[in-house]
Symmetry: D2
Subunit: 401 residues, 4 copies
């Protein structure tokens, strides 16, 4: 029987689902399966072992790509400049990694001359959309296969997947399975499923790994200074750091104080509400610090309007429209607003809290002489009367009728 | 010499500025000055003494109005339903009280047949705008006098004001003057001036009074459940409370855990950036809990669009357009979205942090059977393919060119 | 063989597609088919004949519902208050009728105890979405069948459909088939297909029927006055008219001057661009006149913000979200803004053009004494200086750096 | 007596107001007055005579600057790419010229070492704001003088200004004074005052000069093709034209058909409503044609979001914030969206009407095979079901409750 695809490249994680997918694709869809693992900082201990696992299951080739630096510099920094977050603050860590993974998987597909692309996502999540919209942009004519969407009850259920794996000699991880579905990268972690599906129940402590429980955090506050250059973090406490090290270092420092947890009921793109737990220590502090700096050096109107730009940018990331002409246009707007965003933000970390406590920039628009009520006051108080008169003229005319 | 006004009613606080204003108005502007103190929860120990002080300085009449309940029910609750906050989270406590004060001062003016209204605000703040826009709406033809805007260097400086007070036998408060300029009401506190005008310096602990320093907060978390009915908080831990008691009680509970401090560089309406410190324990937790509930019971599109409504509502409050046909229209929109917002939000308070950890509502749109990846899954996975195909058709067509 | 549905109610037009659908449903999907024709002003000469035709093909029951008045009063007037139009001005005539048709079809379904609902739309248009989203709201558990979406090449092609009709003794209209696909109701007409699919070719004159060609229009201008009460048109030239008569009368008057044609490339909801021709004489003039009046009696801020509301409202109509809590909330906003919209707009009609040339309202906010540069000027010119100083303070501070 | 300014540069038009201002400034404000006339296409017959007039009145120097090309290329084209218009369609002709005039006047001021800048606008219009905000950006420390704002009743009244002129030997134009206040440039004309201040009265035919009355227009339609390259018009009927010639030519062609008149009640920045008449033949057709092309080559999401950008851009122009970091950021967004906007739009002009009747572009996203219902149909109809299912899942869940 002729298969739907000759050669399919699969975005591979090494987990149960994508491992089963390798075999299932070979049996049902493709003559040849090639896997690609993209390292975006998921901290898997043994990427080599994951690569080999795919080969054992039947992949004809199995690639690993270290994309950590590209992830931070070309994806995370753009999201940061856009103050990107969703609904109750989710910093979009998983969402922002998907287009990069899709892009690199597609690059492999083009190198090996594949005619199809595959991912392991189910039909009810956001990630399927992010993979496929990226591929529609980058390779509009490629066939896209989504095994998990076709499995139905047969394999979607974890126990049935394990049976299938055992039947087909697919190695199953020996480490104790987390009770949660997890996605991790340098910008943060998503935690779903299990007991978390009850929106009334507090997320158990074992759901978290990047942030300490508050009772175990230091008993003294820690102050850090984050240095920015044109909207991009370049150092901590005036020590320059490369992009990836900065994020990793900050994840440690901030997580140590128990900062960066989220618990939210979220509106997915596919029309359902889900309960999501996130951890994102570095992202949490960087996002607040960046916005602080941006406001410090830009006029009000620019920043108030930028909030609409930022909101649309966040939506594009969440909904999978990273590769789109609209995102490019938003980026052009955002870059203009970052030109002055050079300076330092001082943050206090303590017991799960953080607060911006100081800000400094050569481009600061804060003018003490204007703001002060003290001796130095240079503000023209008499202008206020005329200002209010005209500001209120429309309202006054309305209520006079 | 004929004075500009026959009878002026002054929004009075009992502080140095408005006390000097009483005398200054009599000397320069009006034949008769009547003062009104509005109690919006500023916790002044002795409102009677404040009233008498105005009479001693020369006011012909001096009123006190208890507006605490009206404040919470007709102003704060509306702001809460609109998730009202400004820029970095300021819950607009001072801003939302101004139109009420203006309204009640104007009511006195109409009762006593005054021809002018006065406030003690300077020319560089937002409050002058809020008073005057309210008066332009409620009494478009009244004369408005702003003594502090006319004083110039003569009296704007605190020391000169003290000299003036002493010269005119205006009693000066014997209690040690705060190094800050403070405004307090049931919804929160604004703290400005002094050392706070240096944006690099952390706000000293003595700037705060509603929230404990974290080191002094309880060493165990506290869980509270907040009950809402159609968007309005009605109880804590299933114990019904009247509006004012609920806010006051919550200020105590939440403040005890050190929650609700803000430190931000803010864009004032008059075109300057200022450094503002706020405390708002009850507001902080109620705003987050309210939004959580609202999202739990409304579809995505309603909530995402409401964020524009909320932003405009917040601007109107901040900028002083409370009495305006636009605010009425926004209220009508918001009321529609609150009809289902009945339920309970569970919040954890600990060491300066709070987190929503549970939510329950008879109108919940969270459907575990749709969201779950487990056995109960009723989601039609096959719909996803068609969904993504059409969602991405525009992008695909674009990149095919 | 058991059919998918026991009793299906079909939104019926009497045309080829829905006639074929009656038979096809009986053969493939349902044991019983009931048809409903909704009269929204499509000017079909013989609705009785259409009803009978369905019975002849095999429908067990066939209903006609006159919904013209309900259409204008509960759908069109709401769209008018929202200044509803899409992209290049399309007044949404077809779009706004769909939810009403869906509602009435569903009412029949509930009366006859049907378990399924059906429409004749294909998979690439907007109307399928409008029908189905309405049904998902009004009858969330009903089965929905879309025959034309399932037909595939077999029947989608017109010639094949005719063959099928002849084979099954389905009467085919004897009148010459229009070369276009047409939808008509009291608010306007949509014209698609045929030569119109070439975006470079001008729409031929035979595509139009509601508007005269300009060369045949009167050689003298005509002036009309349109009277509004709270946003709703109530009369022409001070003669009161009921809602439907007013729209029909205006269609004649305005169409006689050749006014109300649209030619646009439009972005459909399903991700494709299509070329659309519309005619909407009454709608064109009413929409402009309504907006003129609204602006005449409301302050700037209300109207500028309402433009966002209107845009969202138009999107909801276009995309089929008429029955949604968001539309209800938008309506609440809009109603607030119409309270003062009582007055008269004078319009000049001539040779395909129309222009608002006069406006009058007891609630007018136009104040000649404020606006005039002449003798009566009551504007305080000196306020302008202070106004500009504070308006420009942010920019000045920025450029001083 | 020491004057407020040593050397003031005045934006000069040669009309009564700015001529009186030259003398008044010398008498009251400055030791030396220098005038600058900026030619932005106002079609004054004798700019040399205007220059000399200023010298006769007492100006120490008098400059003319031809800025017509700079106006079209650096101001008008930017406005066109932003589809810039205000409220009921005003193409912002006067508004978009003000920042250029302000810039060039300031350049003269810097060349001659002036310490003050002056304009002849009154306190109730928008132009004062546009001049002054530009100067605050370009020369934040310059003194700004607005004679007409200080005149008061003495000179604001036209008759009194004539008396003053005669008393001071200021030459008064011998040509019959227009009953209107007029501003003209290459992009259009504004007409105010006189009978136009009555919003119920139709604008008389003598208010118009760029557009023929419809009864005098040709009796046959004229078709033109407008060629664009990256959003900029480059030719008519495939004949390349330089920017200024193209606009001038188009003003003639379009005006000959009586197209491009506006009559609107407008919300000024200073809080008043005014009645404005505009003529803008070229602008009217170019704006529609440009938008048509833009939509033809960009995906829906880009264009729908750009409408917010365009609206803000228009506001910035109207309100005088041309020189601002926000405008720069919006420009960056807009430029991105113009990259594909190369192609030709065919327009029909006839009897005061115009209609886009054809469009062609190598970057067209219109795909007949997707849009057509005919034989060539390549659209996947089956995707629609899944699309609608997920699109409507939120609504369905809501109404199921």
């Amino acid at each position: 029987m002729k298969k739907e695809a000759k050669k399919v490249v699969l975005a591979y994680s090494g987990g149960l689902d994508t491992s089963v997918a390798v075999k299932w694709l070979l049996e049902n869809k493709a003559e040849e399966v090639i896997t690609v693992v993209i390292d975006v900082g998921q901290k898997e201990e043994n990427l080599e072992a994951i690569r080999d696992k795919a080969l054992k299951i039947g992949a004809s080739q199995s690639f690993i790509k270290d994309a950590k630096k590209e992830f931070v510099e070309n994806y995370v920094w753009k999201a940061l400049k856009a103050n990107a977050s969703y609904e109750f603050g989710y910093p979009l860590a998983t969402a922002i990694a998907r287009p990069l993974i899709a892009k690199l998987v597609n690059e492999v597909a083009q190198e090996v001359g594949a005619d199809a692309l595959a991912h392991g996502c189910t039909g009810k999540g956001n990630d399927q959309v992010r993979f496929e919209l990226a591929w529609k942009a980058l390779n509009p004519n490629a066939k896209i296969i989504a095994p998990a969407r076709e499995w139905g009850a047969e394999l979607l259920d974890r126990n049935k997947a394990i049976d299938y794996a055992q039947k087909h000699n697919i190695p199953i991880s020996l480490t104790k399975k987390s009770p949660y579905s997890i996605d991790l990268n340098a910008w943060g972690k998503s935690i779903e499923c299990g007991i978390l599906e009850d929106p009334w129940v507090e997320a158990p402590e074992d759901a978290f790994s990047l942030t300490k429980p508050i009772k175990d955090t230091p008993n003294e506050p820690e102050y850090i200074e984050i240095n920015f250059k044109q909207g991009i973090p370049t150092g901590i406490n005036n020590k320059e750091l490369d992009s990836l090290s900065l994020v990793e270092e900050l994840n440690k420092i901030v997580g140590n104080h128990g900062i960066g947890r989220y618990d939210q009921i979220e509106n997915r793109l596919v029309g359902i509400k889900s309960r999501e737990i996130y951890e994102a220590p570095a992202a949490t502090v960087l996002l607040r610090a960046h916005k602080e700096l941006e406001y410090f050096v830009n006029p009000k109107d620019s920043m108030h309007f930028k909030s609409l730009i930022d909101q649309k940018y966040s939506e594009l990331i969440y909904n999978g429209f990273w590769f789109s002409p609209l995102r490019n246009a938003l980026d052009a707007f955002i870059e203009e607003t970052q030109k002055k965003a050079t300076g330092t933000i001082r943050v206090k970390l303590f017991k799960g809290n953080f607060q911006v406590v100081g800000r400094a920039s050569e481009n600061s628009l804060y003018n003490k002489k204007l703001a002060s009520y003290g001796d130095e006051d240079i503000f023209d108080h008499s202008s206020a009367k005329g200002f209010i008169n005209l500001l209120g003229l429309g309202i006054k005319t309305y209520y006079q009728k």
